[in-house]
Each structure stands twice: as C-alpha cells, then as structure tokens.
C-alpha cells in the first residue's frame, strides 16, 4: 500500500501531496521536508529506491519535477516506478504534453486524476483509456451546467486536452 505521493520541483517547492495514511499536519510537514532533502541530494544514476524509516521511498524525476512515493516493505518498487509513469502519462494526455505549470495552475485536476487512478493507496484502474473516460464524464457534467461561459472563454487561461 502506498502511504503518500509527493510532487516537488528541483527548487524544493511542493506541488502536490497525497496522503493515504493519516498524519498530523506537523508530522506531514516533517516527512515532506525530510523526504525532499533526501531525494534532492541524490545524484543521477543512483538507485531510485531508498529505505527510509519503515517505508521504501521510490522516486523518479521528470524534467523539473520529482515524483516521489512512500510504499511499504512488501510493495513492489519497480511497479511503483511505473505507477508514477502511468500517472505522468495520464496528466500528459489530459493537459497535452504536461509541464510543471499545468500542475501548478490546475492542481485540483491533478488531484481528481489521481483519485481515478489510485484509491486508498492502491491502484484502482490501470487502463489509460478508462481513467480518461471517467475524467471526461466529469468534464461533461461541468459543461452542462456552467453558465459564465463567455467570461471564461474570453480569458482563455488554458484550453487543451480532450476532444
């Protein structure tokens, strides 16, 4: 079972935190700080798995972003790397070649996407098609009832993604 997933930039800015076990806010901040420091200090080509406390930290860097998961001893590290990759693929497909900015400005979407892919710290749906279908169904519901359309279009902050 995954205990948490953290996304942070090379500069040490946290971009997303998802917790599958409960911790106090104080404890979370400490974990974030410790894990970030540890992972940012790693050199390229080093092993992507770190034993830390009772967990295994699995991390992978995509451009400027680090994706980092805390999983249990009996969990499969290699597959965790692919969990990260699949999540990145999902974001990529949704935003259309995703970059750090997409995640900053649409952090709520990143959360929604993650919930469709994983729940309770376990993989829920591995099919890219099915996850994106679920997200599309949500987006459809939004369209049906959103009124201040013109205003939003005029701003055009973001508009890529699914057809």
């Amino acid at each position: 079972m995954m205990h948490y997933m953290l996304l942070f930039s090379r500069q040490g800015k946290l971009r997303l935190q998802k917790w599958y076990t409960s911790h106090s806010e104080k404890a979370k901040k400490k974990i974030i700080r410790d894990v970030m420091t540890m992972v940012l200090a790693r050199k390229p080509k080093m092993c992507a798995f770190i034993e830390w406390k009772d967990l295994k930290i699995v991390y992978k860097r995509y451009a400027s972003l680090y994706f980092c998961c805390g999983i249990e001893q009996q969990d499969n590290e290699l597959l965790c790397l692919e969990i990260i990759h699949r999540y990145v693929e999902l974001l990529d497909k949704y935003f259309g070649s995703v970059c750090e900015l997409d995640i900053i400005f649409n952090f709520e979407r990143a959360y929604f996407m993650l919930d469709e892919f994983m729940l309770a710290g376990e993989v829920q749906e591995t099919s890219k098609k099915n996850v994106l279908k679920a997200i599309a169904a949500q987006d459809l519901l939004q369209e049906e009832c959103d009124e201040p359309k013109s205003l939003l279009e005029e701003l055009g902050v973001i508009s890529t993604g699914l057809e």
Binding site: E25, Q74, A120, E122, A134
Partner: protein, 985 residues
Amino acid sequence: VKDSMRGLAVFISDIRNCKSKEAEEKRINKELANIRSKFKGDKALDGYQKKKYVCKLLFIFLLGNDIDFGHMEAVNLLNSNKYTEKQIGYLFISVLISENNELMRLVQQNLKNDLASRNPVHVNLALECIANIGSKEMAEMFAPEIPKLLVMGDAGDTVKQSAALCLLKLFRTAPEMVPIGDWTSRVIHLLNDQHMGVVTAAVSLIEALVKRNPDDFKGCVSLSISRLARIVTSSYTDLQDYTYYFVPAPWLSVKLLRLLQNYPPPEDTTVRNRLAECLETILNKAVEPPKSKKVQHSNAKNAVLFEAISLIIHMDSDPSLLVRACSQLGQFLSNRETNLRYLALESMCLLATSEFSHDAVKRHQETVVTALKSERDVSVRQRAVDLLYAMCDRSNAEEIVGEMLTYLETADYSIRGELVLKIAILAEKYASDYTWYVDTILNLIRLAGDFVSEEVWYRVIQIVINREDVQAYAAKTVFEALEAPACHENMVKVGGYILGEFGNLIAGDARSSPSTQFQLLHGKFHLCSPPTRALLLSAYIKLVNLFPEIREDIIAVLESDANLRNSNVEIQQRASEYLSLARNSTQDVLATVLEEMPPFPERESSILAQLRKKKPAVEDAIRARGEKQQQRPASGAADGAAASAAPTAATPTSGGGGGVKLQGDIAGAESNTDSDLLGLDFGGSAPAAAAGGGGAGGGSVDLLSSILDVGVSSSSSSSAAPSAASGASAQRKTVVVGAGASGSIVGEENWHKFVCKNSGVLYENDILQVGVKCDYQQSSGRIVVYYGNKTPAPLAQFASVINLPDSSLTNQLGIQVKPVGDRVGASEQVNEVITVDCMAEFSACPLLNIRFVYSGVAQSITLKLPLTINKFMQSSEMDSATFFQHWKQLSQPEQECQKIFQAKFPMDAETTKTKILGFGFSLLSNIDSNPANFVGAGIVQTKSGNIGSLFRLEPNQQAQMYRLTVHSIKPGVSKRLCELLETQI
C-alpha cells in the same frame, strides 16, 4: 480543459511572481483577508465565487500555510447541483477537514445523498471522498452499505472499483464495522469479473480480508491462479489497454502474486502444477529478447518477475524454481540499471536463506564482492554487505570477513556501525580457530574503533574468558596492539581487561614483562575517559595479584591525588578500596578476591540482538535457516556460536569470589544497553551476579554495591524476555508478551482516575508524559497512548511492551498494538494505538512497560493500562418492575457482591451521579423508595456474550459510609465492579 477560475489563476501568477518569501507571505495574507471578508460579508456569494475562494484557500494550504476557516463554505458547495462546485467542495474536505470537525455530520449527510444518486459519477465522488477520509465514524455509517455497491449486478464497473477500495480503506480503519460473512463468496468471485479494472481493485480488498481471515477466503487461491494463468499466457494484444508496454496486466499480475504469498503452496496437485507453470512462464519470459527498448517495458516485466521470485521464495518448496530464480538474479547483478542490481542483491538475500538455493547464491560471491568495491551508490553497497552476510557459512567465512574488513576501511560512515556488528557476528559464528576470531575483532577496533559498540568488545572478552586455548594468544596480540603509538580507547579497555586476567601468560617473554605490561597500560591512562580509567584501576589491582613484584608501582598510582582524590566518585572509590586491598591483604586474600574470572554463562550473542534490532526480517530468516541446518543430520557439524562451545573451565571457581569489578564493568554497562529488549533468551542473570555472591573478605566492600546494581537491573530486564518472540511476528517493536510483569508499577493514583473517565494524563515525570485517550464501542475499544518527550534531547531505542500479568488475560482480551517508532524526538509527541477486544470478562489489569534510553541511560517505566471491565459496560434503562425482576433473578450468593466502606470523596450526590454515569451504569429514578439511594443497570459486552449487571448504592451521611451492592450474572463481574466503583466514591 473546460472550466477555469480567472481569479485563481491570477492569484497563482501573483504568488509565482513574488521575489521573496516575505513578499509571498504578504500576498497570501492579503488574499486571506480578502477571502475572509467575502465570506463574512453581507452580500451572498454565488456558487462560482464560493468555489473560487475555496480553491484559493486550498492552494494557500498546499503552499504550506495553515487554514482555519472556509470549511463551512466548502460544505455548502457539496449541496450545489453543479458538479464542478461539488467536486471542489469534496476536494477541500478530503484535504482539510479533520475527522472530528463538527461539520462532519453535514458532510456525511451529503455523502449519503450522493451515494444514493442515480448518476454513477456522483456515487464515485462520494466513494472517493469516503476512501480519502476513511474515519471511524464513516466506517460505522457506510461500511454496511458499500458491499452492496460492490457485488450488485447493476452497479457500473467504475462504481465497483471505487467501492472495493473504499471498503478496503474502511476495513483498515475499523475492521469490526465491515460485515464480511454474508458476501465472502461473492467477493472472492470478483476475481472472475470480466472487467480487468474491477479485478485489479478487488484483489487489494481481498488481500486485506485474507490477512484477517485466511480460512474463509481459501477459495481465492485457485481462482487467482487461473486468473494469473490467463494473463501470463495471453499475448500482449489480448488485453488491449491493460497491456502496459507489451507486458500484459503487470499491476494485476503483481497483486495476484502477492495475494498468493498469504498461503502455503496449494495442496491440490493440479492447482499446484498450474501455478508452477505460471511461474515457469514468467521465468522463461525473462530470458526472451525484450519487445521494447523502453525502460517501462523492462520495469514492468521485471516487476512481475521479482514478485514471482518472492512467491517462489515464500513457498520454498520447489528446488528447481529456486535455483532458476537465483541464476536469473545473478544475471541482474551485472545489469547496467542500478535499480535492478539493487533489487537483485536484495532478493538474493532471501534466496540465501533457503536451504535449496543457498549454494546457488554462493556461486555469485565474486560478483557481490565486486559490487561492494565498485558500486557508486551507498545503498547498493549496503545491499551487497547484506548479501555477503546472508551467504556466509563456514566454508567461505574467512574470505567474506576478510573482504568486509577491507571494505570497512573505506566504508561510508553511515553503515560502519552495522558492518562492524556483522563482521563480529560472522567471525564469532564461524570461527573454527579462535586466534582468527581474536585477530578479527582487534582489527575491527583498530580500523573502526568508534563504531565498535560495547556489545562487540564485551563479547570478545567473554569468549576469551571462556576459551582457555586462546587466552595466551589474546594477551600477546592485545599487548602488541597496545604498543602502537595511537590506539583506540576500546583497545585500551580490551587490553586492560585481558592483561589483568591473563597477563601472566605472556610475562615470561622479556618484551612483555610485568612492569612493561603495566607501563604500557598506564601510558594510555591519562588519555582515557573516566569509565576506562576506572576499568584500568581494576586491571591494576588484578596485576598486583598476578605480579607481586610490581605492587609498589601500582600502589603509587592508586595513592596519587589524581586518583585518590579524583572528582569522579567511581575512580576515587576504586582507588581507595584497591589501595587498602593492595596494602593490607595477605597474598592469600588477594589470590581469592582477585582470582581469575569464572566462565560466562552460555547464551545468545548480544551483538546478534543488536543487529536483529536493525534488520528483523532477514536476521530471523537467516537464523531460521541455521536452525534448519542444525536439525539435518547431514550437515552435522555443530554450528554453534563461538561462546556456546563448551565452557572450558567448567569448575565453578571458589564460590565465585573472583568477580572483582572488571566483571561489573562489563555486566553493569551491558544491562544498560537494553539489548535484551527484543526478547532474547538471556538465560541467567548477568555474569557479575553469578560471580558475585561471595564478595570475599578483604577490602572488597564496594563490590557489593556494584553487584547489587547489576543484579537489580539485569533481573528486571531479563524478566521481560521470555516469550516475547512469539508475539513479535507482526509488530516489530511493540510486542504483547504473556506472563511476567517487569519492574514495579508506578502512577497508580492516576490510573484510578481513568475508571470513570477516558482521557487524561496517565503518568508524568521529568522526561516523559504519558497521556491516554480511549473510546469503547460494545466489546471493542481503542486506546491511544500519547508519549510526550519533555526534554530537549531525543529518547532513543524507544519501545513499549504490553505485559499480561495474569495468564488468563490472554484468553480474555485480544490486544493489538500499532507500534510507535523507536525514537521520540526532542519535545515531540508520538502516539501508539492499542485496539482491544474483550473476549470474556476479566479482572486483572494489563501492564504497559515503556523503555527508552535518555542521554545514555536506559529507563524503564511500568504502568497499569487504564483498561477495566466497566469500560465495556453500556448503561441500560428499565422500569421498576423489570429492575426488581432482574435483581431477584440474580441473587444467588455468588452473583451478589456487597461492600460497606468509608467514603473516599466528599459525599456530594451530583458528583457521585456523574461518576456512576462515567463508570457505565445508568441511573434509574423512582425505583428505590429512599430517594437518597442510587440504583442503576448496565450490560458488560464481551465477544462471548453480554453480562447484565445491577447495582444499588446507599449513602450514610452521618457515618460518611456507603453500602454498595452489585448483582451480576457472572460472579467475578459483580465482585470486580464492586471493587472498582468502591475506589471512585
């Protein structure tokens, strides 16, 4: 991407443009003020605005700021008929509302509505929110409903998937709330579901249920195997979108392989063969040429392979599969991917513990040694060390230890401590020639003295004492080591001890004459810390006995002001006592008091314990293999840890008068290290106690105190030891042990306060505060123990154990502990969750033993756990007729318990009522003819049945006394309730 909020985007851009932390903070505060005023303002906000502000708050929170408002607005959003607003509302709640927020009730109402929605997207949203929060209350409310969504035919696939994992979350939170029985078989059959996503989600749920109840779910074994077979034999096009980079359904495969690791190999031959075929197919695929060069392909494929190997190791029954797995891993050892090398080393460690594959692993020794020397990543080198350790046996020990010693010289500081322990253990375990062992340990001290813990150098001394054949060699070697211009203090300690005992064995050589030995030791004296100096003083007095000719030199040292008036009392005391011993005793007395140490009692090496603390799983597996081998007559050779070689000097030496101090130096310190905590079988008490007894005549007065010290501390630690191992399977540090309390109990006064209430401080001293919060539901309870470190220094080796002082408690209470970490940082608070099931009525009280090391000193505190039978009592209302009917029914002599006693608190009716209600009884009015009396009823709920109980309490104001009568179905219960209530009023 359709919908966006302009204000939010602008705000985020602003934050990103901030040049400094201060500017950012200022911008955030401005925004918070703005949002606050909007929320408080007169103008009603529309849904869009609320959503936008709630989203901003969320963003601010995610930047690392605390948010203490906006919850109400978020909850309002849940009511919105616009999906996007609802969704943001749920997100905010999942991230930001704590379980006990008063708005939770509203949230749950909304969840209920959405769960009942006809739109599956809404149902999913609710399920995801429940899974994200997963509180106990939610478990109570929703756990009975969700199984229906999971097994109902008409629920959509996505709903089934979310429902499975939502239920898993609730099951983890509160297993007792999740009704399994009725739908066990339908859940198992989800393994056959057509939709791969549903199976993927369901397997995780099934694995959790299996862990709790393996027998009921046995049916999942054959179903998983068939499912797995279908996946591994399918071509990558069959599974369409569930194929990941040409690997068919890697996630599902891994989950199925994991699930199977909860069971022994299948008994049915057909099923077993089928599984073997699957595993072979997976191994075969590993050697096929890759279908893609992408790392995703190889990762996914190898993820399945490693999981299959784990299963092969778990079953440990098919030699050919084990050997194939080993050769596959061997190939990975030289793969160019660091990750694969790391994992291969790790998996091979486990293979080395199987008797079938141990030899196959040994063939890779050279590659592993190369890894140790050339890997650039310390964590990989660490794995190489682990593997060398695991593959070591008598045949390759000298080579492996040699390699490890070489590596030690350049090893990273972070792993030196562990490396030293491992070398010490291997050297001891596989020594056939003890001169090699002595050389190895002295080398360790030379190369990494700082990392040689007390356990290690105690051990070499114990072994030298116990083995006559190595004593002269040890004395000679240590003498030579001390001749080096600079040597580590640990070397001085070992040198002092060994020359004090066996210096005479090398005194014939002019190069190590008595006075040279003494001068050599004394040359180091001034550079050493007080404990070492104290040890050296003991060595000197032993030299007085061995070599009367240097007596005057030693007396001069003892009577020097630097020692006799040393500010350190230990040094001062030893100097003065040894001085009078040296001056005034006849040679006979000296010879008795300062006789050679008797052999140490045989026991498991304490260094092994030290290592096991670091790596419990592997260490146990390795040990298990050792035991297995010993049982097999073929491998014959008595494996034995060195010290377990027969004690050489079997004769108990003269009533043990010889235990002068030196022994105390070892044993006393040893009981401080707390190494017994993991439940090692420390047979006897520490050696000094054994040696002590006589105390001998002469001037050895101080011995008594040191022996006493040792005796007390070692007996308290060893009493906790037996049987701890049995409970240690799942929980690592916190274990529940049967029988045998340890230490005296403190904090009883506070314990009494918990009889009628459920939270507060249970114990407090200058270092530690122990708080407790409990809640009880029917026959189950949850006790959260908070350990607060009051000091500015961390508490190390922190561990707690629950002792059941009365063996019957093991059947009466089911106790599970979610352990705390082994360290409580400065001013930090950690909590430990203890869940209790009351199986049957009980009256004894479990004890909570807390141990830790604070500034180098081991501490042990034993408290009574505030767990009493009345906690499981629910008050019960009834009318007067029913009350009297029950009262009469329960009036057998053993069902009634009556006590007349002095009031312990002021006899105030209102306070008494509060206490009675807190105790768990109801208060029934209009039953007793005397309105000053209290009567009431309660039902004690246990897993084995309910126990109705009634009480009547009659105050006598004049005499300041009470008469208390309790009737109960079970005799023990009336007595216990009576006792407990008596202390409260």
